[in-house]
């Protein structure tokens, strides 16, 4: 499963931040967003359908939703008070909050009834609760404030009448000392205590009557939260683009994502004046491999897939043209994390510990998505390559998980069920690139890096399984203006590795 840092690295936290539910109820659900478990497929499908329905309605008439959003924005989170009402008397402030919430249900219900789409939503039903409100507002005044009214008990009415008399008598006293003053103040204190006692008793009675409605109110609050969050997701889809993923009933079905993007990386690239190249991937059970140039976007492709798969399983629209996948019981992502220093292990040691955890998880639970980015890069090429080949063969033999592995190593792709390559500099015109790099020469290797990125094609394409990773490393070094004195040594020593034989 993905940890907090990974959720942030792949852009899931970014997407959650982008979601803007109107109420604290929806926001609570947003913060708890997580993938649905294997047994919750039907629930997930209904959730996604809700988002799709709201998206369609929003796209037609965005402004018709404003009254609903305004009504949602007024709501506070009163779940604790509702819960408490079953066991203890609510305080005046709690009763105030509950009363106000119940009063806000009227405009909410009215706003919903103006929107035909709301009735079509699954597991969402919005209604007002006048019976419950009548308990907190027995006079039916529907004031925005809360006070136990005189009509609640004869005792309360009498105490308050007395109190008024004492107040007026005190006001009428001349400034400075008056003999009656102390007596009146004592009387006031006594009346105040009696009023407090009577109010406490009445609040207990009121709470008890109200608590009969607590279960129904909690149901309603759940509905409101789901509606609010689904609406927020649909609004995000309207703003950022995306599609409702299809959840496939066949648990061995292929995972397909067409033209995925990662909104976090897209925004970061946008700041530099660049755009995100959409990637498409199809995975069946077993291992697929991505190879390709350094700087070519292999890691980005993996993170983008992790993000979108996680979004789909968590009931979100995905950032893709289309997507279809079966229920997955887990998503694992393994990549070199320079900040990860588990118990003083080297980066390779840390990677292997985590890989071991993934293997045992995969053998315990079927139908997981395993993403390994530059697996075993931290060790020597011959053993590293052996490890990656083993991983590919392992996942192919078991066929219990969907694995996607990116690598530089040769002779891996031929074992994989599918082989993707990043385009990299394949289609870049060498003369044009050279000219552009010369032009950017003054700004040094950083400027050259920027320029190189402009010529890089980050798209993925399906390659032959026999094709080894392209030899772009030296090309890139030259492009990055590594001093030629050094590059001469490299060429002398031989890019001889190209003749290396199959292990």
């Amino acid at each position: 499963m993905l940890d907090k840092k990974q959720l942030s690295d792949i852009g899931f936290s970014y997407v959650l931040e982008k979601l803007e539910p109107c109420s604290p109820l929806g926001d609570e659900l947003r913060r708890k967003a997580a993938p649905r478990g294997a047994g919750e497929a039907a629930l997930l499908v209904r959730e996604l359908e809700n988002v799709g329905l709201l998206f369609d309605a929003l796209s037609l008439e965005r402004e018709r939703f404003y009254p609903l959003e305004r009504a949602l924005m007024q709501l506070k989170d009163i779940r604790r008070s509702v819960e408490l009402s079953r066991t203890a008397a609510l305080s005046e402030v709690e009763l105030f909050e509950v009363k106000r919430f119940l009063m806000l249900l009227d405009p909410l219900e009215a706003a919903c009834s103006e929107l035909p789409v709301i009735k079509k939503l699954h597991d969402i039903s919005i209604f007002s609760m006048p019976e419950a409100l009548d308990i907190l507002d027995p006079d039916g005044m529907r004031a925005q404030t809360f006070r136990l009214s005189d009509s609640c008990s004869e005792e309360l009415r009498l105490i308050r009448r007395e109190r008024k008399r004492v107040d007026l008598a005190l006001r009428a006293l001349p400034e400075g000392g008056a003999p009656e003053r102390d007596g009146l103040i004592a009387e006031r204190t006594l009346l105040s205590a009696r009023e407090e006692n009577e109010e406490t008793r009445l609040r207990a009675v009121m709470t008890k009557a109200f608590s009969a409605h607590s279960a129904r109110l909690e149901e309603l609050i759940g509905s409101i939260a789901r509606l609010d969050l689904a609406l927020a997701k649909a609004k995000l889809m309207l703003a950022e683009g995306g599609a409702i993923p299809e959840i496939l009933p066949n648990r061995d079905a292929e995972i397909t994502f067409t033209d995925m993007v990662n909104p976090m990386l897209r925004a970061a690239l946008g700041l530099k004046g660049r755009s995100f190249t959409p990637v498409s991937v199809a995975l069946s059970k077993g291992a697929a491999v991505i190879t390709g140039a350094n700087m070519g976007g292999k890691s980005v492709a993996v993170k983008t897939l992790a993000l979108n798969a996680l979004l789909a399983l968590s009931g979100f629209p995905v950032f893709a043209q289309s997507a279809a996948l079966p229920m997955l019981s887990g998503i694992h992502l393994l990549y070199e994390d320079r900040e990860d220093s588990r118990g003083g292990l080297s980066s390779f040691g840390g990677e292997m510990v985590r890989f071991g955890e993934i293997l045992s998880s995969v053998s315990r639970t079927e139908n997981q998505l395993v993403l390994l980015d530059e697996f075993a890069r931290g060790t020597n090429p011959s053993e590293g390559s052996a490890l990656v080949r083993a991983a590919v063969r392992f996942f192919n033999a078991k066929r219990e998980a969907y694995a996607l592995i990116t690598t530089h190593f040769d002779f891996v792709a031929e074992l994989a069920s599918r082989h993707y390559q990043v385009m990299g500099l394949k289609n870049a015109d060498p003369a044009e690139l050279e000219a552009a790099l010369n032009a950017s020469g003054e700004s040094g290797s950083a400027g050259a890096g920027e320029m190189l990125a402009r010529f890089m094609d980050y798209g993925l394409f399906l390659a032959k399984s026999s094709e080894n990773p392209p030899r772009d490393a030296l090309k890139i070094c030259r492009a990055l203006r590594i001093p030629s004195e050094f590059m001469d040594y490299v060429e002398e020593n031989g890019s001889g590795c190209e003749q290396k034989s199959k292990p």
Partner: protein, 338 residues
Amino acid sequence: MLYEFIKPYSSIATIGMCKNAGKTTVLNRLIGECFAHGETPALTSIGRDGERSDVVTGTDKPEIFVYEGTLVATAEALLTVGDVSREIADTSGMPTPMGEVVIMRAMSDGLVQIAGPSMTAQLRVLKRRLFALGAKRVFIDGALSRKSLAMPAVSDACILSSGASYSRDMNKTVADTAFACELMSLEGSALFDEKSLECAPASEKFILLDRDGERVSLDSAKDAAERIRTQGAKGLLVRGGVTDSVFEALFAAGRLLSGMEIAVEDGSRLLVRAANYQKLVRAGAAVRALEKTALAAVTVNPFSAYGEHYDKNAFFDAVRAALPAAVPVVNVKEYEYA
């Protein structure tokens, strides 16, 4: 008679030089005089961090007397400490150690205890809310010492209470009161405003306006002084609290301080000794606040809670003589409301 001095202002903060300076008496008199003029003002306070232990242990007795109809914004746990009959008018979502700040309306006369939010920004929001609920005037029970919190920034005017409880030495009390008044009635800046702070990141404490009117952000007072010494400047805005060490560093800029403006957010942010302040003024710098607040009046209380009373007339006369004639000075007679 305090009413006359606060009449032009819609929000007034009461500030005490120390405990028992007569601040609560002033607040009660203000409420009483407003009532006599047919007004029911709204009340709140800036948080009571300094007094928290008192409040939590419950040794504070409710001592502010309000009339029916008064709006009071106070912490939830303090609602039942007073003896007014009340209705809940609104909640604020602002937390305090004693629960959320709640706005209640007094439905009878009686005593209340007030603890409002502790952040200036929250107080600003709360003040707006009180006006929206119908208040015509808001009183803010301020911090005990002007050093505690930025009061003036949220009120149009303030009333400073000084008294014999501040020090056994009357001359010291008078001098410190006069200095506090000077800081509370700083002129508004000609070079900077609230926006000058908003468009700079909060980490930038020193914002300098050079001779060409260009803004330069600096990390330390030392850097600011060096820049002024070598290139001169029109003004320097210091964010947040300004301590003696800042002033002492600025002295290094020497004669180029002359004619410069040194701006602070408001007078209560100046946590400097009078000697350093006067040295800067003598060097020719003008100390200014982002927003000018009015000092509506100064009240004096010759009675000390510790028994060392001053001579009533001598104290009044000394404070009167130490302050500009435009600032009213009032002798507050201690008396109980309830």
